[in-house]
Symmetry: C2
Subunit: 346 residues, 2 copies
DNA sequence: TTGTAAGCGTTATCAG
DNA sequence: CTGATAACGCTTACAA
């Protein structure tokens, strides 16, 4: 209830939170538009002294433009939605981190969107809602979306920043390369009976299904019998059961392509526990190239994957979207970024 | 230019992208404010028929309120910033996913903010900028921020959704419990010489430092010599070198508390490679309870950590922040969520 | 070189 | 029960 006039006079002094462009304008003795122009790089053709005053005032007030206001008038935000699939790829954390760092440098914030149970349609619907609401500057898809989905999104004015995978018979190049490399490696090492090991419990794993199909193709090409699919849980007992069934069905030796490194470890140690020779009776190759596989004995053979290379592709996508430049040259993942890391399990 | 009046009548037909509340209002034959009220649950005291018409129109147009507009008028967005530390905790991916799912259900989107090199101050500055720009509905801190930082942020009107860790001599309860459990377990198993194994290369790992300090405290309490700190890289050769040095300095047996499960694996397999007995000459315990540690032989002893429990705490924080209710009862991580998972390395 | 004014889509307040 | 109207903070023609 104090009616001291000073209360009123004291209220609007430099307070960090919530300084608006109007405040900056007032302090600098210019208009809001001038502030906006100058702070958005339209520095040329403004009196040097004005630029100084504005920048100074902004700094003094700790002025940060509100994303809301910006987004409203621009029609899109400075957010990028990262669509993360329910995949068995091991590196997701690193990938997210790398992408976030990259986009952060460019002034974007990353909104994560994980696939969840409920099926592809439900996940797409959730994504769509996020896109409608947030009007993001773009989407980076880690494999959650089909080409159709990507097209739809793009038609709605939401740029796709990740490279559009080139599908061959429903399998994108990356998974094709991975699975083919796995299968060929196993065959090279002398295995004539192959199997594909899914990670159990990941209810929807499109990547896994694609890769299993590719392994089957490679077998067919090589005149080998079709691979057996097994589901491996990430516990020792369950893995042993799964492997036991496989050995009973296919005999030995058998080469097993695994959906990721953890499954690879589960399989190789299960084999050892069952007194099978690794390699020899059982050959195992994973995907991911994470460190764990290389720490244990026997070291896991695996497919390495250059995170930074694929992230670089995305960075280029962003640049393209900003500059309005059409995606130039080759936005494809070059196949040679998938390499066999020879361990002791094949 | 065609002047067919139908052109005008035909223009506003149901087009998905960019329907505004004005469009809905027009189609429903009401005003924008009515639309807003009804769509925000103020259904009571509106003519049932009006409610129907509005909902119908909204559905028909695929109307989704713009986050930008909302944020602008509300002064805060429906985003939640997730501050992720540069920690050695293994589960980060799962934690992020769980939190994102939780917040998604509540209508929030998650913006990830990873700590990066450059020091705590730089990271805080980046975070601060994000907060200023986005005016998020809240922050979930996974351990990146100090109590001071949290207070500052909250003063600026950004609710802290994660439980504020209770620090005892600079160490929060969680890390205290983890490290203490590790140390006491090793001592229980008969080790009288202890060591703490950091993950090398994680330039800033506040968690690791805290835990090493706690292990030292426990040693002191038990009248044991101070633990030795070692830095373990995630490759076999490097880990062997590090362990070799340790054994030379401390002799055998030695019990090693590791900053995470991967380091634990590196240490145990390095010990085996050096022909040390595990357990016996070398005891190893990790943190994380991830599946990998339990897949290999010898199974890693570790500290398990109930992700869902801690996420539940955050959910309660959100509820509190929305309801405006003061955080009730006990927002603390109950200590008993950290349990020893007895493997074969201690 | 700088200022004026309009409008982005939403919500809150208050009047009818 | 419903509707004007006024912000919210920003950008951007266009005018001076």
């Amino acid at each position: 209830m104090s009616q001291d006039p000073e209360d009123v006079a004291v209220l609007p002094p430099p307070r960090r939170p919530g300084a608006t462009s109007a405040d900056v304008a007032r302090l600098a003795g210019v208009s809001r538009s001038t502030v906006s122009h100058i702070l958005n790089g339209q520095v040329t053709r403004f009196a040097e002294e004005t630029v100084g005053r504005v920048r100074d005032a902004a700094a003094r007030l700790g002025y940060v433009p509100s994303a809301a206001g910006r987004s409203l008038v621009l029609g899109r935000s400075d957010l990028v939605v990262l669509a993360v699939p329910n995949t068995t790829l091991t590196n997701v954390q690193d990938i997210i981190e790398a992408i976030a760092a990259d986009l952060d440098d460019l002034g974007y914030s990353v909104v994560v969107h994980f696939d969840r149970g409920g099926g592809a349609a439900a996940n797409l619907a959730r994504l769509q809602h996020v896109v409608d609401t947030l009007r993001p500057a773009g989407i980076v898809d880690l494999g959650s979306l089909s080409l159709r989905d990507l097209d739809t999104l793009e038609e709605q004015g939401c740029p796709i920043l990740s490279p559009r995978p080139r599908h061959v018979r429903g399998v994108d190049e990356g998974n094709l390369a991975i699975a083919r490399t796995q299968a060929e490696h196993l065959i090279d090492r002398g295995y004539t009976a192959l199997a594909y090991a899914f990670l159990v419990d990941h209810r929807d794993d499109p990547f896994g299904r694609m890769r299993a199909a590719v392994v089957a193709d490679v077998c067919a090409e090589a005149g080998l019998p079709a691979p057996t699919a097994i589901s491996v849980p990430l516990d020792a007992a369950g893995a042993q059961t799964a492997l036991c069934d496989l050995l009973r069905a296919r005999g030995r030796p058998v080469g097993i392509a695994c959906s990721n490194d953890e499954v690879g470890l589960a399989v190789s140690f299960a084999a050892l526990a069952l007194r099978a020779a690794v390699p020899g009776d059982v050959g195992v190759i994973g995907v991911g190239g994470g460190s764990v596989g290389q720490l244990v004995a026997p070291r896991l053979s695996t497919i390495t994957f250059d995170v930074r290379a694929s992230v670089g592709t995305i960075r280029r996508g962003v640049a393209a979207a900003r500059g309005g430049v059409a995606e130039d040259d080759d936005p494809t993942l070059s196949p040679e970024i998938f390499l066999v890391l020879q361990g002791e399990t094949t």
